[in-house]
Each structure stands twice: as C-alpha cells, then as structure tokens.
C-alpha cells in the first residue's frame, strides 16, 4: 500500500490508541458479561430446586472434599476408605482424580480465610458454574489465538450457554468435567499461544495447565493424543517451525513428569499405549528438527548426503523404538489399552467384552436428537467454521479443525464425550459467525458508503471499510447489536477525517496482515439487501440458539435427580424418596452396618447415609459388582448366603413401579444379570427372558419371578392397588402374593421408590422333619382356644 506521509503518520496513533483502548474496555466488559451469563444460566437448578449436590458421582466428590477440608491434603492423599467396596476398601487418594476436590477445597479454604463462612457443600455446588465462566474466558483466549478477538468473543458467548456443557456443569453438578473442560480449553490455548509466540514461558504454563487437566479428568489422554497429532500434521504438511519444537518438546517432558506425579496416573503416564503416541511424535520431531538444523548449516548438495545419512539412522532408531513399543504392547493382555480407551477406538468393544462399561448410559453412543439437543444450531455452523479455518490455514486454525474432527468421532462413540465436542463446536461456530458477520457488515458498510460518498472514492473506501470492519471485529464482539451503531459510528468518523483514517488503517493492515485482506475484501462484497437479510437471519439463528439454551438449562438439565418433581393437574409433585431413605438409614442403622444395593446408589449411600456399601459407582472391581449382581438375580436363599458372606445387613432397592420412575432397579436388572453372569456362569441371561423379551408380568420366566430383585421390588406391591399394576412397565406383575423367608422389609419410602430390607438372622433352631405335627398342633391349639372359654362360662 501507499506509504503514509510522515506528518499524518505521527498524528495517527493517538485516535488509534484511543480506539484500541475503547475496544479493549468493551471487550473486557463483554467478557465479564459472558462470565456472568455462564454463571447465572447454570443457577436454574438452585432456583428451581435447592442448593444440593446432584446425581451420583458428585456425591462422592463432595464426600472427598469434605474429607479434604477436614483432614488436610496429606490425609487426603493417603486416604484409605473403609466404607466402600466392603471388605476390599478403596484407596481414595490413589484412585481419584484430585483436581476437582483440590480446587473446591482450596476455594473453600480461601473463602474461609477471608472470613466468609461458606459450607463445603455451597462451595461444591457453585464450583461448576464458576468454572464454566472460566471456561468461556479460556475459549475466548483460544479462539483469539486462532482467529482474532471477534471470533473469540463469539465463541466465548456460545460456549457460555452451550447445552452440552450446561448438562455437566449446572450448579450442584459437582463433577470432574466441570473443571476439566476449563483445563482442556486452557491447555489448548496455551499450546497455541506457545506455538504462535515460541516462548518457553508459555510452554511452562502449558505443561502446568496440562498437569491441572491430568489432575482433573481421565480425558487428559485426549490432549496428549491430539497435540501430537497436530504436531505430526504440521510436520507432514511442511509447516515445521522451531516454534513447534518449543511448543511440543518441553510439554512432553514436563507433562509426562507432572502426570506421573498424580497418583491415579502414576507410571501409566509412560507405560500405557495411550501415551505412546506422544513419545513417538517426540522422537520424530527431534529427527525433523535435527534435519532442519543440518539443512541450515549445509549447502544443498551436501545436505542431500547428510539427509540420506540422517534418514537411515533415524529410520533405524524409529524402527527400534517401534519394535520395543510393539513388544511392550503385545506383552500386555489388553494390548496396553484400558478398556475405556479401547471402547473408544472400537465402539463395539465394550458391548462385546465389558458389560460394566456398556451398562452405563453415558457410555452409549449418542442418538441424532441428542446432537441437536446438545449443540443445537452449532451443528450447522461448524462446517462454515471449518471453511473459515482454511482461509487462511494457520497452525492454530489447523489445530481447531483437527480438534473438531477428533471430537466429533469420539462424541459419536460415547455420549459423555459430547462434552469434549462442545468447545470445539463452539469455537468453530464462533469463528463461522464472526467471519459471516464480518463479511456481511463489511459489505453493508461498503454499499452504504457507496450510497453516501457517491462513488467518489470507491477504491479508497473499500479499503477503508475492510480495515475498519476488521478493527470493529477486534474491538467489539461483532454482536448483532453492534452492527447498527458501528455503521453510524463509521459514517460519522468518515465524514470527519477520512483521509487520515484511511492511511492509518492502511498502514496498520499492511503491518499486521500483509496483502491478504485486500483480496478478501474484493471477493466478499455482497449486495446490501442480501447482507442485511443475512445478518437478520444470523441474528434469528442466534436468538433461536439462545432460547434453546435457556430452555435446556431451565428444563432439561437442571433436575438434581436426587429430588424428582412431576407436574400434574393437582400441581407440582415432589418425590424426595431418596433422601428419605438415606436419612432413615443414617438414623436407624448401626454405624458399621453394611448396605448392599446396585452400584448406582453406592456413592449416595456413603455420602448421605454414611453407611458402608459393597459396591459403588467407581466400578473398579468387576468381580465384586458381579457378586452383587448375582445375589440380586439369585433366588432368596442363595442371595441371602451371598449377602451374609459379605456381612451385609441391609439391602436397598430402587423401585419406580408405583410412581412411574423409569430408571429403577427392575429396568437395570438385565445389566445385573449380564454382569453377574459374566463372572458366575450359573446366571444365564436367557433364563430371565421370555422369548428374548424382558418382562415381569405373568409371562415372565419362573427364574425371573423368583429372583431376589423381583421379590424385593414387588413385595407387598399388590397391596397398593389390589392388582399390582406396574406403572413403568405398564402391566400387572406376574407374581403378586408371596412371602419373604430370608429378608424382612424394614423401610419403604413414601412413594415406594426406595425399599430397604434387612437380612433375617439365621434360624436359631433347626426344625425337625415332621411336618404334619405342626398342622395338628395348630388345630389342637385352635381347639384349645375354642375349649378354653368353657371354664369361664
């Protein structure tokens, strides 16, 4: 572009700086608002229900946090919990990802140090919303690294309310993912930042942030595989730079060391296949770096010679390493992969081999509606975002595309990983929206200015428009509200001092992004009408998205699942049976009593009832779970023996047949059979199915009708309505009148959702064989009763 005259150049920076400062403030303010939005949209659960911990896993995390805040970090690190997995116990410190609890624990500690007396529970409830605000800021930074401020703000705003993320981070949903998504996005941001700047400082931060991620969630393997993939991609596409080396090599070394510090990961950080990719790429990177280095030193001819040398040596080394790795991998039975990772790579793996993984609903593949539910319009914006990432393709934007592609695959395998997809989708949609607005507003301005300026300085203006537009996107969120004001602002500015501005902008543009903008501008001028319509459509789309998100946050994802509600004509019904049952347990049973239930309720029982459980949601010991599954699917006597051998005093079942609560134990029962049958072959699934159909009505198999689960669930059920009509399954139960011989009912909650049984003690005496005596003695006693009256009369 034309060189600016020295005088104007000297005068130019002042308004420019002002504009930048104004943009910065606006940007910061917008970010603040986004944070507030992210926080407050997650408070529906607190407002609609109450400030409680939700679901299952959060209860465990809550309990761990309580322990941490009470006993300090060292005790927590070495915590051996004897209240779960009786009698095996569980080494909590060594099997838990401590990131979440440490975070909440330190928040609690900090808050208390400031003399703000908050309970641990309150802190836990609000950890997730706080971190989703953080996550949206991290998204802003990440997208800014890739595509500039406008896209960053857009992406942050979208992420703040993406339903998929809301589902895991409403207030009370105190789970690992709540902080992990922040850590994930932030690690990616620091990686890109390092990649863009080549600064060791950021590399260090990146490693630390990776450490935080490792602490927080098992999903860290996604990072340690995605980044090597990106590095490899860069090398293959010839985009190697020494910045890449700085971004990657220290991360691998420091990250591995730091990951090995987390007890739950430990030596896995170097021994399992999930991490091998990073080491392999690390070696390749070194070879490549060395080659580039030599290349810099030598003349081309000699370089060729050196190349052959290096390549032969390098290949030899690579082969050696690969051979060693393959040997290592082959020597382990699961090929070095954990079951969960394997089920990621081979979606059918879990259902084939590990029923316990397959039994968890969040490990199932998602359905299409769930995509629409969870990311909504983003699904349509993402392709646009990908295209936008390719114009122009930078290291950062290629990373985004790679991230998205892998995340889409993983989310297709497991519903739970939809959560990983959400940030990617948000970022790319943010990019797409931002560039779309960019193009539309620019062409609008161009067209408008044509109208105003009567085509006097078309060429100059078009350039000016482009640059101001790009400035706008930098300064403001390109949000829909701003378009009008920007237009006006632009017009007025232009009328004041067009020439100065133009030149200044020119220089800026040429300085920062050489040549390209001009070409883009020329291409992307659209007719005024089209651009206005387009903008409006985008605004409508955005509005639709916001409405959907708020609906999702308010209705779909806020239920704490510990308290249920239903609306009927009489009004709101609250089912608080779970807490009722746990409170009963904690008040009416001995402290050391063992409570057996299906593992779903293990965490809640330990946390809320403070009773020892046999199995819980940390499904680390398949045999133990299978034992409980077998007991539940055995007839009463066999079940009693199994439970007695485990010192169980109480058995807890969840039954939804009376109120129509579908996720009860009868519906989960087939999994118990499967898991039990996996370890104990005398439990056979077909015995419980009639012609391949699972049913508990009169068509059900005798095995089904005699198993413990059926009996415990439907004991005395017929007394409720006289027919025994199960409202979940929608038919009358098969066996209505029966007695329990080895168990006795001790507590049933108000809506029959939780039923607690006690194991009867062994009989004090063993009866003789004679049966008929009993009946005759009975008759004699009735006779006696009949006769007894005589003396009195």
């Amino acid at each position: 572009m034309a060189e600016p005259e020295p005088t104007t150049a000297a005068a130019a920076p002042a308004p420019g700086r002002l504009r930048n400062a104004f943009g910065g403030v606006l940007c910061a303010f917008t970010l603040l608002l986004i944070g507030v939005l992210a926080f407050s949209i997650r408070l529906f659960s607190v407002i609609k229900y109450e400030s409680v911990i939700h679901e299952f896993d959060p209860y465990f995390n809550f309990r761990v946090t309580q322990f941490l805040s009470k006993n300090g970090i060292y005790e927590f690190w070495n915590w051996f919990d004897d209240r779960t997995w009786y009698p095996l116990g569980r080494v909590i410190g060594g099997t838990v990802y401590p990131g979440l609890t440490l975070t909440a624990g330190s928040i609690w500690w900090l808050v208390n140090a400031l003399n703000i007396p908050l309970s641990v529970e309150t802190v836990c409830v609000f950890t997730a919303p706080i971190f989703s605000a953080n996550a949206s800021w991290a998204t802003y930074l990440l997208t800014k690294e890739a595509k500039g401020t406008g896209a960053g703000l857009m992406a942050a705003a979208i992420l703040a309310m993406v339903p998929s993320y809301i589902s895991r981070s409403v207030a009370g949903s105190y789970d690992n993912e709540a902080v992990a998504i922040f850590a994930l996005v932030f690690t990616f941001y620091l990686y890109l930042k390092t990649l863009n700047t080549g600064s060791l400082f950021y590399a260090t931060l990146n490693a630390l942030s990776y450490f935080y991620m490792v602490c927080s969630w098992g999903g860290y393997t996604f990072i340690i595989n995605l980044i090597p993939m990106h590095v490899l991609l860069c090398i293959v596409t010839g985009r190697y730079s020494s910045r890449l080396y700085i971004a990657y090599a220290p991360l691998v070394i420091l990250g591995t060391l730091l990951a090995a510090l987390v007890p739950v990961v430990g030596f896995n950080a170097v021994l399992t296949s999930e991490h091998f990719a990073s080491f392999l790429v690390f070696i390749i990177l070194h070879v490549v770096a060395f080659v580039y280095y030599i290349k810099g030193l030598l003349t081309p001819r000699l370089f060729k010679v050196a190349m052959t040398l290096v390549i032969t040596v390098g290949l030899a080394v690579c082969f050696a390493v690969v051979a060693v790795l393959v040997a290592l991998v082959a020597s382990s039975p699961t090929k070095g992969w954990s079951g969960r990772s394997l089920s990621l790579l081979d979606p059918t793996y879990a259902s084939k081999y590990i029923p316990i993984i397959a039994s968890v609903s969040e490990h199932q593949p998602p359905t299409w509606p769930s995509y629409f539910m969870d990311i909504n319009v983003l699904a349509f914006l993402v392709p646009a975002g990908i295209i936008s990432c390719f114009l122009p393709l930078s290291d950062a934007s290629s990373f985004m595309v790679l991230y998205l592609v892998t995340a889409v695959y993983f989310s297709g395998v497991m519903v739970r990983l939809m959560l990983v997809l959400a940030p990617a989708a948000c970022i790319l949609s943010g990019i797409a929206l931002s560039s779309a607005f960019d193009v539309l507003t620019r062409s609008m301005k161009f067209q408008l200015s044509k109208v105003f300026n009567d085509g006097s300085a078309v060429s100059g203006d078009s350039i000016a428009e482009g640059s101001t537009a790009s400035n706008d996107t930098k300064g403001s969120s390109t949000s829909t509200v701003n378009t009008n004001s920007a237009k006006i602002e632009n017009r007025t500015e232009k009328s004041e001092k067009p020439s100065k501005k133009n030149r200044k902008k020119d220089r800026e543009v040429t300085g920062s992004v050489p040549v390209k903008p001009k070409k883009e501008k020329r291409l992307s001028v659209l007719p005024l009408e089209a651009s206005v319509v387009g903008t409006l459509l985008l605004i409508v789309l955005g509005g639709f998205y916001v409405v959907h998100c708020v609906w999702a946050a308010a209705e779909a994802y806020s239920a704490p699942s510990i308290v249920l509600t239903s609306r009927s004509r009489e009004g709101l019904h609250v089912f608080d049976d779970f807490r009722e049952a746990y409170a009963w347990l904690s008040h009416n049973t001995d402290v050391d009593d063992k409570v057996a239930s299906w593992w779903d309720y293990g965490y809640q029982t330990t946390a809320m009832a403070n009773r020892t459980v046999i199995v819980d949601n940390n499904t680390w010991n398949n045999t133990h779970i299978a034992t409980v599954g077998t007991a539940m699917s055995s007839p009463e006597k066999a079940a009693w023996e199994i439970f007695d051998s485990l010192d169980v005093k109480y058995v807890l079942v969840v039954f939804g047949g009376l109120v129509g609560y579908p996720s009860d134990d009868i519906n989960k029962f087939l999994w118990m059979v499967r898991i039990g049958g996996g370890e104990f072959p005398h439990i056979k699934e077909p015995d419980y199915l009639r012609d391949g159909q699972y049913r508990v009505d009169s068509q059900a198999t005798p095995t089904m009708l005699n198993c413990l689960m059926y009996k415990l669930c439907y004991y005395r059920f017929v007394e409720t309505d006289g027919k025994g009509f199960d409202r979940v399954r929608g038919y009358e139960i098969g066996k209505k009148h029966f007695k329990l011989t080895h168990f006795e009912e001790v507590f049933t909650t108000h809506h029959w959702m939780v039923r607690i049984y006690k194991l009867k003690p062994q009989k004090n005496r063993i009866r003789g064989k004679l049966k008929k005596l009993k009946s005759s003695s009975k008759t004699s006693s009735t006779l006696a009763a009949g006769r007894k009256k005589n003396p009195w009369q």
Partner: protein, 438 residues
Amino acid sequence: MAAPRLPVLFLLLALLVVACRGEASGEGPRGRKVLVLVDDLAVRSSHSAFFGSLQARGLDLEFRLADDPKLSLHRYGQYLYDGLVLFAPSTPRFGGSVDQNAVLEFIDAGHDMILAADSSASDLIRGIATECGVDFDEDPEAMVIDHINYASTEVEGDHTLIAGDDLIESDVILGSKKIDAPVLFRGIGHAANPSNSLVLKVLSASPSAYSANPKTKLASPPSLTGSAISLVSVMQARNNARVLISGSLDLFSNRFLKSSVKKAGSKLSHEKAGNEQFVTETSKWVFHERGHLKAVNVKHHKIGETNEPSMYRINDDLEYSVEIYEWSGTSWKPYVADDVQVQFYMMSPYVLKNMSTDKKGVYSSSFKVPDVYGVFQFKVEYQKLGYTGLSLAKQIPVRPYRHNEYERFITSAYPYYAASFSTMGAFFIFSIAYLYHK
C-alpha cells in the same frame, strides 16, 4: 405386694429386686429362676430327688400346673423365668398365655429348657420337640423296646425298661466323672436329623432297640430302629439356649434314681442306676453351670505398642489377645484349651493361627498383617462340642503404605539421584557460564 398402699416402698422393693437380679445375672451366665410345669402335682414328689438336686444348686423352682390359667412366661416384656422344666408330657395345651410359640420364643430369647415326654406325649409336646429338631416316634402308642439291653430288675416285662449305656463322650455335658451304671429309661424314642448340627444324642439306644407298640404284635417293620433312636438328646440353639429332651419322664423319677440296676445278661449289678448322676450332670449343663464360655478383653495392638490402633498398615506385626473363661457353676474359671484359633479374615481367612494360652484365660497370638489392604476382621469362631459357641468378630481396616512410608534412598537408585543432581548442578554452572562468557 408387701405394701400396696405405699408405692414408694413398692418401687424401692422392685428396684431392690432388679438390683439383686442384675447382680445375680452379672455373676453367672444364667439366672436361677426356673419354672417347672407338671401335669400333676404328684410329679413334684415323685421326682423330688431331681428337683432337690436342682434346688441344692441354688435354682429357684416354681411349680405350676401346665394348664394353670394364670400361667405366663413373661410380664411387661420381661421374662419371668430363666429356665423351664417341662414335665407335663400329656398336657394337650398350656394354661394362660402360654402355647407352643410362647415356649419357642422363650428359648429363642436365650432361655433353657428340660423337656420330658412319655408314652402319652401330647401333640403339643411333640410339636415343641420337633421345633427343636427332635422327632418323636409318630406312633402315639410306641415305646422303645430292647430285648437285649433291658434292665432285668423286673422279673417279667415287655422289655421297655431299658438300661442305656451308650452315652455321648463329652465331659462337658456329662461331667468329668464317668457314669458307670446304666441309665434306666422307659418311654418313647426319637430321632434327630444327622445333618442337624445343633442336636446331640446324649443317650442313644443300642443297636437292638426298636420303637413299637409293646402291647400289639409288630405288623410292619418299625420306623425307628437301632442306634438311630435317641433316648435323650440335647440341643444347643445358635443363641446358646440349651434344651434337653428326654423321651422318658421316669428317667428323672425318684424310683429310677434310687433303684439298683442289672442289665439283662450281664453279671454286673449296680447298686444304683446311673440316672441320678446323669440327670444331675445334664441338668447342670442345661442350666449353664458348665460349658459356658465367655470371651472378654479382646485386645489387639502392634507389637511394641500397647494402645489399640483404629487401623493397621499392611505388613504390620500385631498381637491379638482375648481372655476366655468358663463358668464353673460358682465362678468364672480360666478356660484352658489348645485349639482356639484366630482368623484374620477378609472374605476368606488370610491368617489362621492357633492361639497360645497362659493357662490363666488369656489367649494370644501374634502375626504379620498380610500384604493386602482392605477391611479385615479378627475372628474367633470357637464351636466345641458341648460348649457354648464363641463367635467374636472385630472389624479392622488395613491400609496400604502412606506416600512417605515407602522405602527411600534405594541403593540401586543412587546413579539416578546422582544424575538428577548433576544435571541440576550443570544447570547452575551452565547459567553462570552462559551469562558471563563474554
């Protein structure tokens, strides 16, 4: 009842009674108040020797007719008696609030009973026996007949007076002094399921015995024959309630206690039948004057320490001790045996050791905690024939090493330490060299 108008006094009296009770029961394993139910008060005199021996041992007997309408085993939720002697074989029903279930509940509440049947045993008595695991011959007319081992005190007879000498070999039940003379028995036989581990045959019939109606000819083979017939059985329920069931009420009678006995075909004639010794010793056992063990002072600690930890670590060395005493009828005496075992148990015993005793009641054993963490239990399961069962379980978690309990400064790792420190040193040297090389 002394002063119904002075409730305060009454209350005091009641308190006094309770206090006395408490003291008494605190001493021995069982209280001393026994209800004797008889068909006919004549039994009181015809069996006075037996009752006398009970009373001589301090038991407080209360005689009631079985169909006494005011009969009651408990009042205000408290049992009035600590034992029951049921010498009412022919009673068809009990009076008052007592029925079969009441008696069984009485046993299940941890009380003892002596039950004697007869050839006229009613369904009620048979029912109680069946519930205790003993089946009397169903034929109401049947008696145990033995044409070889009968007592030849009578000149002629139908060989229903049996001189039984097939006694259980247990010092606990029958006392340490051997019963030489045969035990006279006349009544009905019963059988116990051999798989029933709670019932013991104390006095079995000889192989030549059978159970049939002595007045008629045998029409069909008798259902109970040979040594499967038990004449006297005892049952110790899982809660250690003891029940003695005899098919003969006469066994306890003065006549049998005092009579001399000569077994048919045997030259040896005994001055006195073994009955007296037999009933005295078995009643001692039934009323927990013998063979009642108690375990107290369960202690465990690490070797070299004295206080009990709430948790052990794997590979800790620990010591477990328990004191076991036996009630001798008058006082708690140290129990001496060499077969008391302790288990360190988690789903299966990881450690199973005999405990050594110091002959003063203290049993102890020391062992190393296995290299497995989990919630273990110290278990002492001591079920010895005739003794009350001891079943002690104490839960104790075993934790893995803490992070700072692993071995440090392993020799073979010294090169690594050296390397780490050398790189650290090199880093400093390098920094200095790099900064000042110009």
